[in-house]
């Protein structure tokens, strides 16, 4: 009896212009039928994610190296001459490597332009370094260190790691790092120190990421050891913190990300704003 009643009742249609003889708050079996969950899900493989987390670590290496160099100069272990010569040599080598990798046509014009830019920067930097040094001289050291910390943190946050996120702002990131270097430069004894530190900061935060992106080779192990050694000679507490941070970002964070994947709940349905198909 019940079956014949069902067959005589027509199938409920999802339309607004027909009076289908049911109340307005009727819930049909086809309710939420068109909802789809987790359509574009990606499965992550642990070691692949660990490898990709290197991008973040490399920028963190830059930051730590920079701070370690500052402390070395402060303790008179590192002379500004040595720093300037080393960083210039590495920059020139890096420039040649970059040029070779990109297989650019040897347009002498572009080489000449780059050379000119470098020359202008060095001359300007050297002549302005007395001013740069005294810019933040009157501020207390604690404030300087706090500002440097936040500026370097901003550098890490807004850096372009290769994703398409709204928070990325390469300009802001670089500016923050240079401001941090100016803050620290004021704590150094001579203008020569300040100039070499600022130049080193530019090379590290502006030029090195370009080469790094083109290299795509994981120099992590080598870089990691360099950082560990340089930080260890400054302070043993710092090196422990560095190693823990390294472990956290490289091992724990990927594991956490993969553990959270089953909880993903992306809902798609006819209510979504349409994406224009080409």
């Amino acid at each position: 009896m019940a079956m014949s009643c069902d067959r005589s009742r027509k199938k409920w249609q999802k339309v607004l212009y027909k009076d289908q003889g049911v109340s307005d708050n009727y819930v049909d079996e086809s309710f939420l039928e068109e909802m789809k969950k987790n359509l574009h899900i990606r499965t992550y493989e642990f070691w692949a994610v660990v490898r990709e987390s290197n991008v973040v670590m490399q920028q963190i290496y830059s930051v730590w190296i920079f701070v370690a160099v500052y402390f070395h100069m402060r303790n008179f272990v590192l002379t500004p001459q040595f720093l300037f010569e080393m960083s210039s040599a590495v920059t020139i080598v890096g420039y040649i490597v970059n040029f070779v990798i990109l297989h650019e046509n040897a347009l002498t014009k572009s080489r000449w332009k780059d050379g000119k830019t470098m020359g202008i920067f060095l001359i300007l930097g050297f002549s302005l370094s007395p001013i740069l040094m005294t810019l933040t001289k009157t501020i207390s050291t604690d404030t300087i260190y706090a500002m440097t910390f936040f500026m370097l943190l901003a550098n890490l946050l807004f850096h372009d790691y290769g994703t398409d996120a709204a928070i990325v702002s390469q300009a802001f990131s670089l500016n923050a790092a240079i401001f941090a270097s100016i803050c620290l430069a004021s704590r150094l004894p001579t203008t020569w120190h300040a100039f070499s530190l600022v130049t080193f900061a530019f090379e590290l935060f502006a030029l090195w990421p370009i080469l790094r992106r083109n290299l795509k080779i994981i120099l992590s192990f080598l870089l990691g050891s360099v950082v560990t050694v340089s930080v260890a000679t400054v302070s043993s507490v710092a090196v422990v913190v560095f190693l823990l941070l390294h472990l956290f970002i490289t091992i724990l964070c990927p594991a956490w990300l993969i553990r959270l994947q089953p909880y993903k709940n992306n809902i798609h349905g006819p209510w979504d704003e349409a994406v224009i198909k080409q």
């Binding site: 307005d24 209510w271 979504d272 224009i276």
Partner: protein
């Protein structure tokens, strides 16, 4: 049973729009059915205080200025004294809030529930889930819907969306569609150009309304059919794209850009067309296509949101949100027009006139009101329980807010006791006296 209803929203006359006309028309029809209706909204420039619209519809323009997006600043607690005062003065037993974007509506519903007045919420729009603004808005919606007695959505897709966003029981949501005033949107065959096929577009030229799709569809259609012309009403940031298309393909005599069209002039533009094109990327209901159908136009639209539910297949050609699909559907519609296979304009108008009426909407809304009036009252403890279910951390915050609001209500009751509040004159009594022919001047 006759109710005293308070419609609340940030969107009302003198602004013109979908939500605004919905509230106005629904209120008028409910007054016709014998209920008492008042409207509460914020001030519009100098327009502040109490105004009366036709049939004694009393509108409270609260002395609060809008801050962002025509909405007031959401403060949760500062609107309690004034809303409490209005609800007591007018002896309101149902508060009906409109639009999830309206802070005033959501706050008024919250205060109404604190005062144990029944509340209904109508949702007019579709929302996403994934971006940050959606996540926050959906949390606030969960909070509002946890307290509300019943919700109304304008289409089945809107109902599914609201149920998922607000995490409420689907049988607590009624689907009552929007309507049009068919007497305003009547067809006239004399306005149409018999030589050409006119396609009318009437929407804001923004990304959300598919202005990019429109820009890619126009040249294709114009090249395929030499007797087709476009009339585009509306303005916006994407107007430049349409003008560029016009320049590039030299279609100056075939595309007319009218700019912003005032609400009273919309019908004049619509009756000049044979086909109405809608390219929106998301719509909960889309009143525009019903207005166009009422004027006798054949509708071609993207099949998004609630649009497939609105018109039957012989009155609308649906297409995927892509240029090729829209062009195909437009071709079909143009071919039908050439072979005179379309529904006659008067036929279409009659259909809309019978199907989408505000009287029908008011009747179905009244059923919702009757149902919630008959329902038993929830205790404060039950309400707090429901708020707690909104989330692990958010639940506790919501309980705190609800409890604080309750304490503030007790404070208000102590400062300005219920007995001291004068009751406002009921306009229905005046209407009854007027219709029964009593001379009011004599009786004083």
């Amino acid at each position: 049973m006759k109710h005293s209803i308070c419609m609340v929203s940030d969107f009302f006359y003198p602004n013109i729009g979908g939500v605004e006309s919905h509230i106005y028309q629904l209120s008028q029809c409910l007054i016709e059915r014998g209920h008492k209706v008042i409207v509460v909204t914020h001030a519009y420039g100098n327009r502040s205080g109490i105004r009366y619209l036709s049939n004694g519809l009393k509108v409270y323009y609260l002395p609060i200025q809008p801050v962002y997006n025509q909405c007031i600043l959401p403060t949760v607690f500062t609107t309690l004294p004034v809303i409490r005062n209005i609800l007591l003065r007018e002896s309101i037993n149902i508060v009906h809030g409109h639009s999830a974007f309206s802070a005033l509506a959501l706050e008024s519903i919250f205060h109404a529930r604190t005062m144990n007045v029944k509340a209904v919420f109508t949702d007019h729009s579709l929302f996403g889930f994934a971006d940050l603004s959606s996540i926050l808005t959906n949390k606030i919606l969960k909070f509002s819907l946890a307290g509300v007695n019943h919700a109304i959505c304008v289409s089945h897709t809107c109902k599914e969306n609201t149920v998922l966003r607000g995490k409420i029981d689907p049988s607590d949501v009624s689907v009552i569609p929007n309507a049009v005033d068919a007497s305003v949107f009547t067809p006239t065959s004399t306005e149409r150009d018999p030589e050409k096929i006119t396609i009318v577009v009437m929407s804001r030229l923004v990304y959300r309304k598919g202005a990019d799709l429109l820009a890619s569809v126009i040249p294709e259609i114009c090249s395929r059919h030499s007797d087709v012309q476009f009339i585009i009403g509306g303005d916006g940031p994407k107007r430049l794209a349409i003008e560029e298309v016009r320049e590039h393909f030299q279609l100056h005599d075939r595309i007319r850009l009218l700019g912003t069209v005032g609400h009273s002039a919309v019908r004049q533009v619509l009756v000049r067309g044979d086909i109405f094109l809608n390219t929106s990327l998301t719509e909960a209901f889309c009143i525009a296509i019903v207005e166009a159908a009422s004027c006798g136009l054949q509708v071609v639209s993207t099949s998004v949101g609630g649009i497939p539910e609105v018109l039957p297949p012989d009155m609308i050609q649906l297409a995927e949100p892509s240029a090729t699909s829209l062009v195909e559907s437009l071709d079909k519609a143009i071919a039908k027009r050439r072979n005179c296979q379309l529904l006659s304009p008067d036929g279409a108008h009659d259909w809309v006139r019978k199907t989408y009426t505000w009287q029908n909407v008011a009747e179905r809304t009244e059923i919702v009101y009757d149902k919630i009036s008959a329902a038993t009252e929830v205790t404060l403890a039950d309400r707090l329980h429901r708020y707690n279910k909104c989330g692990l951390v958010a639940g506790k915050i919501f309980i705190f807010i609800a409890a604080l609001n309750y304490l503030l209500l007790i404070l208000c009751n102590w400062i300005s006791p219920v007995q001291n509040i004068d009751l406002a004159v009921d306009c229905r009594k005046l209407r009854r006296l007027k219709t029964s022919g009593v001379n009011l001047e004599q009786s004083s």
